[in-house]
């Protein structure tokens, strides 16, 4: 049961982060398709947004490792 809790403590945030990053990528691709001149700025904004989402998954792994050991 504890192994399940340990795995879920990372798996659920990773699921959320994967879906979130996919949606951000989708939005960035549509925006790039409509406006190909601004791709450089869209790239910076996309990396920034993905960093926000990625951080939550990383906090998940830290919580999992702390609560286990």
């Amino acid at each position: 049961m504890e192994n399940l809790a340990f795995s879920l403590a990372y798996a659920l945030p990773a699921l959320g982060a994967a879906l979130g990053a996919g949606m951000i990528g989708m939005g960035a691709m549509s925006a790039a398709g409509r406006n190909p001149e601004k791709i450089k700025e869209l790239q910076s904004l996309m990396i920034l947004a993905i960093a926000f989402v990625d951080a939550l998954a990383i906090i998940g792994i830290v919580v999992a490792l702390i609560s286990r050991g």
């Binding site: 990383i58 906090i59 792994i61 490792l65």
Partner: protein, 277 residues
């Protein structure tokens, strides 16, 4: 962390860095040892570049660092519209970028971890795998955000961003309280993002090395390359977030008549490029 599959005890993974010895009242931890090396490299490298630029010398190292600085300063300028202010405050996020990237890459070197002393305590550990360090960097960034906001708006103007009177508009006073909570959550998120990436990378390399046995010298290589890449991204993200938070703190509402307002979007360069009317 023992397992039933392998006979020996599991690898030694610690959230907290271990104290190696004490210099008087100050405990010296194993992350401080690598931190000294990292800071030494950053200081020596950047002072050499500054000296070389002052003399007019150009070799490959100096050109590389100058190119890096100029492209990052261009990013700062794109986010903070005003060129003079951007050039004045660019050194803080760019220094953080160089410190984070050098310390991250040093933590991948092979001697970090296997050299142990005493009870399997590693002598070297990445500086950023210590939550104290990443918290200190995050505090530096958020205090800098407040200082630049106070420089821009004045002390009471800055308070006025958070404490809006409920008589004027009740919704905005609630939003103001949420802004205070958002500042604190940005602090925690900045520090935990960096720490989590470094720590997860360390744990990954330790576990892959532990599970590969004698093939560890080959199987760890792709993961070390992955760590190099992630280190670049995380340093760039920390730099970018610091700049964006400073720009958000310095933005002014209601001063749209002259084009030097400091906002994140749309930037004044885009406004000037767009056709009027």
């Amino acid at each position: 962390m023992t397992s039933t599959v392998f006979a020996s005890a599991g690898p030694h993974i610690d959230i907290r860095p271990s104290t190696l010895f004490e210099l008087g009242p100050v405990p010296i931890t194993n992350s401080m040892m690598l931190g000294l090396l990292g800071y030494g490299i950053v200081l020596a490298g950047l002072c050499y570049v500054a000296w070389g630029v002052g003399r007019g010398k150009r070799n490959m190292f100096i050109s590389l660092v100058v190119w890096g600085y100029e492209s990052l300063a261009g990013q700062v300028e794109a986010i903070i519209g005003d060129k003079k202010i951007a050039r004045a405050l660019a050194p803080l996020p760019i220094s953080l970028f160089f410190i984070i990237i050098v310390n991250y890459w040093i933590g991948i070197l092979p001697f970090v971890g296997p050299i142990t002393v005493g009870d399997n305590v590693p002598v070297f550990r990445s500086l950023l795998a210590d939550m104290n360090t990443t918290f200190a960097f995050a505090i530096t960034s958020m205090v800098a955000v407040q200082i630049y906001a106070i420089k821009r708006h004045g002390f009471f103007g800055n308070l006025g961003r958070y404490l809006i009177s409920p008589l004027k508009s009740p919704i905005m006073s609630f939003v103001g309280i949420l802004e205070i909570i958002a500042e604190l959550s940005r602090l925690v998120a900045l520090s935990l993002r960096l720490f989590g990436n470094v720590f997860a990378g360390e744990v990954l390399i330790i576990m892959i090395g532990y599970m590969s046995g004698y093939l560890a010298s080959f199987s760890i290589l792709p993961f070390m390359a992955f760590e190099l890449f992630i280190g670049t991204i995380q340093a760039y993200v920390f730099f970018m977030l610091t700049t964006v938070f400073i720009a958000l703190g310095m933005e002014q509402h209601g001063h749209d008549d002259h084009g030097s307002s400091v906002t994140s979007h749309p930037t004044p360069t885009q406004l000037r490029a767009a056709p009027e009317g």
